[in-house]
Amino acid sequence: MKKLHVNVSVNNNDLEFLCNPEDTLLDVLRNDLNLTGTKEGCSTGDCGACSVILDKKLVCSCLVLAAEVDGSDIDTIEGMAEENKLHVLQEKFLEHAALQCGICTPGILIAAKSLLEKNQNPTEKEVRYWLAGNLCRCTGYDKIIRAVLDAAREMRKDYGPNYS
């Protein structure tokens, strides 16, 4: 079968790849672009481990066909820290011990980042509902929720009331 040619920007890098029509975005990120920070937990969109931001929308990359993303901007966990400076969320996850095994962490960080871009002052309930599509089996979510709330506080402080 003929492969499809796709142009895409991943973490602000212009890239191109060839894929089969049935390949998912997750397959291509992991197997072709060497971006294995995005994890596969279920491949049915239930666990959120493969969360990425596609044109400013939070998606499960296992549910997106790679051929569909031509011309898109994609943010993955590998692009979250700037150079060697961790994102506030990453710092807060470490500070609050919000990860145990760490397999769900990239997906949860991406999802939390997309929340804080939309809502800089979420309530605990809002964080819990936003992250309800990201399964974590180790932590019971307690420390994750605390880390996200603390990161939101910190970001409001750092960037002022109008940050985006």
Partner: protein, 749 residues
């Protein structure tokens, strides 16, 4: 988050603090390498053909068409493996990975293919022709035990099985002491109930994955996500009749295990595919395969009978426990029988337990295996008795609590145990006296787990620049690198940033038991402290050489070698770094090591308090407040101790409220995915409040007690009791999902 710490003689500087975990940056930036993250040159993709029948006789497997497909490099069935003794446990593990003569459960694999890419491998699977004959099957414990039931496997029965059961009942045990008849006679009330719990899955988010490379000269490399790579080596080298030394297993980072990654499911298959093809082979399980063919926990059917005086004193207690764990023998039933009444000081107690074979996936350990099911039944009956006598449930538990000198229900007499202190902490906590609203109920339960030690090796190397490398052999499943580094730094008296802990492959260290039994902080910690002590001895020796004094005239204190008293001289103390820097000139590199099969882990108790609100119109139960009390002995890194308490609690909450394996009448699993097998999500829960008690364990130099498993035990009964009190209906079957609770509410009305 409280910490209740009695006065101890030991003053710690680093132990008990909350440093950032050393592997943290890799894990928040996506750099950490998990099971599926390794790629090798010229690598093939392997996958397994599974049969969707609960029980079938395999008549033939024809792989000829699949072999012809371009890109297919090797195909493996059970016949490709060397014949080993069928009673050998490792052979049973292999037969679970790939069926021998019979398909034993829905999803049992029968053939494997390796091809240049995954889509070719999947195409090839469709070309494999399997002829099989369906056999009658058994799914439930009740059906499997009946005389005349279809027999899952013949010849597995132990010598001590009582008469009156089918051949699926293969293992039996009983424990206890005292005169039950007299005990029940002395009671003012005896309550007997039958309880059921479903199979639930460990539900780790990372599916099993491995990359194997094996050549025809019998050498192999294996990379995989596992709770114990030395165990993977033992199993695989036995299956392939290889020397241990020729199979190097490297543990990747692990994305959760909870007991489910203590055995193998794909590793021998990947090795065989690699050996046959001459290529490295990568295998990654799908989530559906994880649900169908890796270990859920046992399902249970438990009768509990407890007699109580109106004062709350228990006079006699008895349990008959029946566990089902699939088609192979396992020992979980024994742990259920031993754990059931461990929290109580009883004059008359008896537990009996049966293990029953069924056509379901082979059980694997799940956090305190066997304890949640039996303790759920016991703690539910005790709560019902407390309600009957209108007695305070915490008072009754304190009144009957096991303590030092109690003859435990499983035999030995307890030494110091922290149960009473834990119960009292719960009683004094504001949660216990906070008011409840309408349709709300408060549940409480004790929990127990044994905790283990086991084989452990640690090497501790002092580098020339005064930094320290700790080499250990247990995968870091929840922050253990941090606690191990903290103990090394504490013992050596140096700062934490000078220490790095790595997890060695199987050729770089002696055997280490699996990361299980809540053993790592206890055992690896113990070995690390002892290895540090050995290194300190050598450091003192080098200092003595430098000072020209006797070796025993030097002592180690706070990171420095000091002359031991005035007679030894008044030399300036030498730091670890001072000595390390000249170690090449004073005799060579300095290291310490320690190897042990550790005993003395000490048992662990926990108490959980939960408030639940049940919606009487929908049957949905919401957790309003949850508090966990547990003795950690000494919390090395309190954040990760809290994490174990919170995470285990939430797994127990899932078990109590939602999770279950659902089978259709044709013996097939109906919900092998996270959509229909619903584990708790963030919006289901409140904060989980952990209260750490620290009653030092005399078996560990810093007093550490394992904390990993106990927390999954109490939630089942705590929630059952809360929902029962909220609704006024006694429940005896999990999960308390909305349909089950609603049905009971409607029946009552």
């Amino acid at each position: 988050m409280d910490q209740i710490t009695p006065k101890t003689t030991k003053e710690f500087k680093i132990v008990g603090t909350r440093p950032l975990r050393p592997d943290g940056i890799d894990k928040v930036t996506g750099k950490a390498m998990y099971g599926a993250d390794l790629y090798a040159p010229n690598m093939l993709y392997g996958c397994l053909l599974r049969i969707n029948e609960p029980h079938a006789f395999i008549e033939s497997i024809d792989t000829s068409n699949a072999e012809q497909l371009s890109g297919v490099k090797s195909i493996v069935t059970f016949k490709d493996f060397i014949k080993i003794n069928p009673d050998n446990k490792n052979n049973q593990i292999l037969e679970n990975c790939i069926a021998n003569e019979k398909v034993l459960y829905d999803g049992h694999a029968v053939a494997a293919v390796a091809a240049v890419d995954l889509s070719t491998a999947k195409k090839a699977l469709k070309l494999v022709k399997i002829k099989y004959k369906k056999l009658p099957f058994v799914i439930t414990i009740e059906d499997a035990m009946k005389i005349g039931a279809p027999v899952v496997a013949i010849g597995k029965k132990n010598e001590n099985i009582p008469d009156g059961y089918s051949d699926n009942v293969i293992q039996y045990c009983s424990f206890g002491h005292g005169n039950l008849e007299e005990g029940f006679k002395a009671a003012h009330k005896v309550i007997k109930r039958t309880f059921k719990t479903p199979s639930v899955h460990q539900g780790y988010i990372e599916p099993h994955a491995c990359l194997a490379s094996m050549s025809n000269d019998g050498k192999a490399d294996l990379w995989c996500c596992t709770q114990g790579h030395f165990n993977v080596r033992s199993i695989c080298s036995s299956i392939f009749k290889m020397d241990n030394s020729q199979l190097k297993v490297t543990a990747s980072e692990i994305g959760g295990g909870f007991g489910g990654k203590t055995t193998v499911f794909i590793e021998p298959i990947a090795l065989a595919l690699s050996q046959k093809s001459g290529h490295p082979v990568k295998m990654v399980m799908s989530r559906e395969d994880v649900f169908k063919a890796t270990g859920p926990t046992v399902s249970s059917l438990v009768d509990v009978e407890v007699g109580m005086k109106k004062t709350g004193k228990i006079t006699a207690a008895r349990a008959i426990i029946r566990y089902e764990g699939g088609a192979f023998p396992n020992e979980t039933y024994e742990l259920g029988a031993q754990s059931a009444f461990a929290a109580y000081d009883l004059d008359a107690v008896k537990t009996e337990a049966f293990n029953v074979l069924t056509n379901r996936p082979t059980q694997a350990a799940y956090r305190a295996p066997g304890a949640p099911q039996s303790i759920y039944a016991v703690e539910s009956v005790i709560d019902e008795l407390c309600q009957f006598f209108n007695q305070d449930p915490l008072y009754v538990r304190i009144l009957n609590a096991a303590k030092k000198g109690t003859k435990s229900s499983y035999g030995p007499t307890f030494d110091d145990i922290g149960l009473k202190a834990t119960l009292e902490a719960a009683k004094n906590h504001p949660h216990y006296t906070s008011p409840l609203k309408e349709n709300q109920g408060r549940g409480i339960s004790c929990g127990f787990w044994f905790n283990f030690g086991g084989n452990t090796c640690v090497s501790l190397n002092i580098n020339f620049d005064g930094t320290v490398g700790v080499v250990e052999g247990n995968p870091d499943i929840g922050g253990s690198r941090s606690s191990i580094s903290q103990m090394a730094a504490e013992e050596l008296g140096i700062s934490l940033d000078k220490v790095k802990t790595v997890i060695a492959d199987t050729n770089s260290l002696g055997h280490n038991d699996v990361t299980d039994g809540s053993r790592v902080t206890f055992s690896v910690g113990l070995a690390t402290i002892k290895a540090a002590k050995a290194a300190k001895k050598e450091l003192c020796k080098r200092a003595s050489k430098l000072w020209g004094i006797d070796e025993d005239a030097v002592i180690w204190k706070d990171g420095y070698a000091h002359p031991a008293g005035a007679n030894a001289g008044n030399q300036e103390p030498l730091s670890l770094e001072d000595i390390a820097k000249v170690s090449s000139q004073t005799g060579g590199p300095i290291a310490g090591h320690y190897e042990v099969n550790a005993d003395g882990a000490g048992v662990s108790f926990g108490v959980h308090l939960v408030d639940i609100e049940t919606d009487m119109e929908t049957g949905h139960s919401k957790i309003i407040r949850y508090t966990v009390f547990q003795d950690a002995g000494k919390a090395i890194h309190p954040s990760y101790v809290e994490g174990q308490m919170q995470g285990g609690s939430v797994q127990g909450i899932g078990w109590a409220l939602n999770e279950e394996y659902i089978y259709s009448s044709d013996g097939k699993l109906q919900n092998p995915g996270f959509l229909d097998y619903r584990i708790p999500v963030a919006s289901d829960l409140p904060m989980i409040d952990p209260v750490i008690l620290e009653i030092p364990n005399p078996g560990h130099p810093y007093g550490v007690r394992g904390v990993g498993e106990t927390s999954i035990v109490p939630p089942l009964a705590a929630i059952n009791n809360a929902v029962s009190r909220a609704t006024g209906i006694r429940f005896t079957e999990l999960p308390l999902s909305p349909p089950r609770v609603l049905k009971a509410i409607l029946n009552k009305q």
